[in-house]
């Protein structure tokens, strides 16, 4: 297989064996990006010169005996990660000229692990979307079918992996934005437990829901990336101070005796038949590997989307108040006073979906409506979280679809925001509960579009989640498929 199609851990081995240099590898990915990205649009910013300099530096350090976990490995980051001196736009016009003066924690940790930054990846504007169609820098296309969406909001990250344009990427997940695009693009995506990975330097959408996670070629790569970015950070007061296990230590332990719960509310009418069939086949694979499937219930599932679109929009309205044209970002020339400057800068700088969510959130928090909407949603959130904690008393993990369908066509859902929101039904509950979950490939539909399997884990149960995912992956070869680009 060509270099660019190999997994991160395979490339790491080659770098260590001296079979390839970081410069050669970086060049290979840069060539791939040049050959394919005009069709996919996964990258917003390419760091060509700097990447080659960093790669050369990595090769020099390796020659001196240095060996860091990701030394010389070319990666890319969703453009939501603040990278010092590298333009960071969050796919919005309002930050189209923003060059950050500091580095965020997750990207700093990858740098310290020796990784080489290829560039910043396209996404839905301010992480608001499920199709990567709301970006101010153009939609991203699914490498498996260029007329289809890659999913969102980390559409660029998932498409980049599917198109072999980097060895690994990071995305963020607030309502499914890692898992759903990973499923749509046939790659692995993990949303860690809230507080596992620092949010310092991650442009905030909904602060009680946002989490950073890897989108990778396979499960072992996911474990490697998670290892590099996890841990308590004093700069993020919501990061949790609990030990980070060795995610690869138990990776190959198997699933014999593991109790996997099947939440009945996720196996409903309206599931695409191909998705249903793929997930049912996956259940059989797990039984064959020695896992025990048990029925469970998450009774408040049907209220998750409504709950999310009140809490997330409310938090977003507060988080996006900072984009006022004063300290950074684009300022409107047409302002006739301070308030007018705010109103016009924001009107000119934000896209329609962002405006819609800010409006909803502002309304839900406003006097007279706070109790009926925001407070009510927070109480329902308690019920949703309780459902998960109850289920984990009987099951070690849970298994479900990621989305009701495989990737839809560009433009198919853009006219009806509510329809778009409802497609997040299976991913949103995990964000509300604050627990962890991942998506890995489990098949294709008749149109050749990838289907993802969702595994949901206990709070801080990422090691067990990865172990179960690895067992399934090794028993199948979905992860070896590549689109014909």
């Amino acid at each position: 297989m060509e270099l660019i199609h190999l997994s991160l851990h395979e490339l790491r081995d080659k770098l260590r064996e001296g079979e390839v240099t970081s410069v050669e590898l970086t060049r290979a990915f840069l060539d791939r990006i040049e050959a394919t990205d005009h069709r996919i649009n996964a990258y917003i910013t390419l760091c060509k010169e700097q990447a080659l300099l960093d790669a050369a530096e990595a090769d020099r350090r390796r020659a001196l005996g240095c060996d860091l976990p990701l030394l010389g490995v070319p990666i890319a980051l969703k453009d939501i990660f603040i990278t010092e001196d590298v333009k960071t736009t969050c796919a919005s016009k309002i930050l189209s000229n923003y060059v950050p003066p500091y580095e965020g924690t997750a990207s700093r940790k990858l740098k310290e692990a020796g990784a080489v930054l290829l560039g910043k990846l396209n996404m839905d504007e301010f992480a608001m979307g499920s199709s990567n169609e709301t970006s101010a820098f153009g939609a991203v296309r699914n490498p498996w079918n260029l007329d289809c969406v890659p999913g969102g909001s980390s559409g660029g990250s998932a498409a980049c992996m599917a198109a072999s344009q980097a060895a690994a990427t990071l995305g963020t997940d607030t309502g499914g934005s890692i898992r759903q695009p990973a499923a749509n693009c046939g790659v692995v995506g993990l949303k860690p437990t809230y507080g596992r990975v620092s949010r310092y330097g991650v442009i905030a959408f909904a602060s009680s829901l946002d989490q950073v996670g890897p989108i990778t070629r396979d499960v072992e790569d996911c474990a490697l990336m998670l290892q590099a970015i996890s841990g308590f950070d004093p700069l993020d007061s919501t990061s949790v101070d609990c030990p980070v296990p060795d995610y690869r230590a138990e990776l190959k332990g198997g699933v014999r005796g593991l109790k996997i719960g099947l939440p009945r509310e996720y196996f409903i009418e309206g599931l695409d038949p191909a998705v249903k069939a793929a997930v049912e086949r996956a259940i059989e694979v797990y039984k064959g590997l020695g896992a025990e499937m048990i029925p469970v219930s998450l009774p408040h599932t049907q209220y998750a989307v409504a709950t999310y679109y009140l809490i997330a929009t409310a938090e977003a309205s507060a988080n996006l108040a900072r984009y006022d044209g004063v300290r950074y970002g684009v300022r409107s020339e047409a302002g006739t006073g301070l308030t007018s400057m705010y109103e016009k800068s924001r009107a000119e700088g934000f896209g329609a979906e962002v405006k819609r969510r800010i409006m909803l959130g502002t309304y839900a928090l406003s006097a007279g409506y706070y109790d009926a909407y925001y407070l009510k949603a927070q109480k329902v959130r308690t019920l949703i979280r309780r459902d998960f904690l109850e289920a984990y008393k009987q099951a070690d993990l849970m298994l479900a679809p990621v989305a009701p369908t495989a990737a839809f066509r560009l433009g198919e859902k853009t006219d009806d925001p509510l329809q778009m929101y409802l497609s997040d039904i299976f991913t949103i509950p995990v964000n509300l509960a604050g627990t962890c979950a991942l998506s890995l490939p489990c098949g294709f539909d008749e149109a050749g579009l990838p289907i993802g399997l969702q595994l949901m884990g206990r709070p801080f149960g990422e090691a067990q989640l990865l172990q179960a995912a690895w067992a399934f992956e090794q028993a199948t070869d979905w992860h070896k498929q590549r689109p014909a680009l």
Partner: protein, 95 residues
Amino acid sequence: MKITRDEVQRVARLARLELSAEELDAMTGQMDAILAYVEKLDELDTAGIEPTSHAVPMENAFREDLVRPSLGTEKALAAAPAGQNGCFQVPKVIE
């Protein structure tokens, strides 16, 4: 009607967003539909349920009151649309 055009206009003012007449109309329709959907939550009796504002059971994330280096004025002003004398410059606030 869950929300009127006037209410949407009021919310836009609160959110410091200038909406065109077309945007206002479209926004009213869309918000109306979404607000109708979220009324679903009224099906649930949440009396006595504590609200969850934070998914992880954590309190009082304090740090030691120690002075550490900060960003510095120069870096802080570097991305500003307009700056002068170490300050961010904005249109006149007081007439």
